[in-house]
C-alpha cells in the first residue's frame, strides 16, 4: 500500500466516524487490531476487533464528532495525524450523563496499517481537557492546560 492509500484509509475512518457509522470498524480494522488510548477506565491496550467495537460504539453514543485531521504525516506503514475534535456530548460517557455541551479536544494519533487495515493505533487525546470541559474534574488551575 502506498502512503497516499494509507492516508485515504484514515480519512475514510474519520468521515465514517463523523457519520456515526460503527460498522466502519469491520471494514478498516484487522481482527487482531490493538488500540493504545489514553483515558480509558481500564489500563492497558484494547486487543482485538471484538473488544474494540463496543468501545468505539460507546464513544459514538456519547459524542457526535464534527472534525477532520488538521494534517497527516505518512511514512512506510504508519500514518500520524493531528486533529482538534469538535464534539457534542449527546450520550452517557464513563458514567457522566449527557450534557449537550460542545467540546474541543486536541488529539495526536498514529495508525499502523497492513494490507489496507489498521493493525495498531495509538491515540493521545486530551482526555484531561475533555473531562474538565464536562465539568467533572476540579483541579489545580495549572493542571487544566
Amino acid at each position: 500500500m502506498s502512503t497516499e492509500v494509507n492516508k485515504q484509509l484514515v480519512l475514510r475512518w474519520k468521515t465514517e466516524r463523523n457519520a456515526g457509522n460503527v460498522r466502519v470498524a469491520d471494514d478498516l480494522c484487522a481482527p487482531d487490531v490493538v488500540l493504545h488510548m489514553s483515558g480509558l477506565p481500564t489500563p492497558g491496550p484494547v486487543c482485538g476487533l471484538e473488544a474494540f467495537k463496543p468501545l468505539f460504539a460507546a464513544y459514538l453514543t456519547a459524542f457526535e464528532f464534527h472534525s477532520m485531521p488538521e494534517f497527516l504525516i505518512a511514512e512506510g506503514d504508519i500514518v500520524a495525524i493531528h486533529e482538534i475534535f469538535q464534539l457534542n456530548h449527546v450520550g452517557p460517557f464513563q458514567g457522566i450523563p449527557p450534557t449537550g455541551k460542545d467540546l474541543t479536544v486536541a488529539s495526536a494519533e498514529i495508525y499502523r496499517i497492513a494490507n489496507g487495515k489498521f493493525v495498531e493505533c495509538w491515540v493521545e487525546a486530551d482526555m484531561l481537557g475533555l473531562l474538565r470541559q464536562l465539568g467533572v474534574l476540579s483541579l489545580p488551575e495549572h493542571a487544566a492546560s
Binding site: 502512503t3 493504545h36 489514553s38 483515558g39 477506565p41 481500564t42 463496543p54 468501545l55 460507546a58 464513544y59 456519547a62 494534517f71 504525516i73 505518512a74 511514512e75 512506510g76 504508519i78 500520524a80 493531528h82 460517557f93 464513563q94 458514567g95 486536541a106 488529539s107 495526536a108 494519533e109 498514529i110 495509538w122 493521545e124 487525546a125 486530551d126 482526555m127 484531561l128 473531562l131 474534574l137 483541579l139 489545580p140 488551575e141 495549572h142 493542571a143 487544566a144 492546560s145
Partner: protein, 145 residues
Amino acid sequence: MTSEEHKALVQRFWEEVFNQKRLERAGAYVTQDYLDHGALPGQGPGLEGAKRQRWALYFAAIPDLHATIDDLVAEGDKVSVRFTVTGTQVGELMGVPPTGKRFHVGAICIYRIAEGKVAEQWEQIDMLGLMRQLGAIPVPAQQPT
C-alpha cells in the same frame, strides 16, 4: 533537509535538551519564534517562553524526566514522535504539590521543521494518566466505556 535529517534533528533535540537537561542548547534546535501548541497558561511567546515558563518548570518538578522514543515518522516538513515518558515528581507540577511518585505515560509530539530547526509543535502527553498516577485525580470505578 531530508526527512531522515528532520528525524535526526528531533532525536538530538530530545536527547540533549530533555534527557540531558541542557536547556541552554535548545536554541541550536528550536527557532526563536517557535510556536508551541502545548503552551502552559501564562507561557511567554517563542523559544524563550517555552524555556523559562515550561521546560524549566518540568525539569525542576521532575529532575529525572526521561523520554524514550518508540516511533519516529517524517513526511514533508513534519516529524511525528511517539514516546514513553518516565520520571519522579519531586517538585510542584502544574499546581500539584510534590508527591515523590514515579510515573510512566505515553506521548505523541509532532514537529514542523523550518530552515533546519523546530519551528512549531503539537504535543499530546497523557496528562490524565499522569495526574491519576500522581494521585491528583481519582482513578474512576470501572465503566462500560
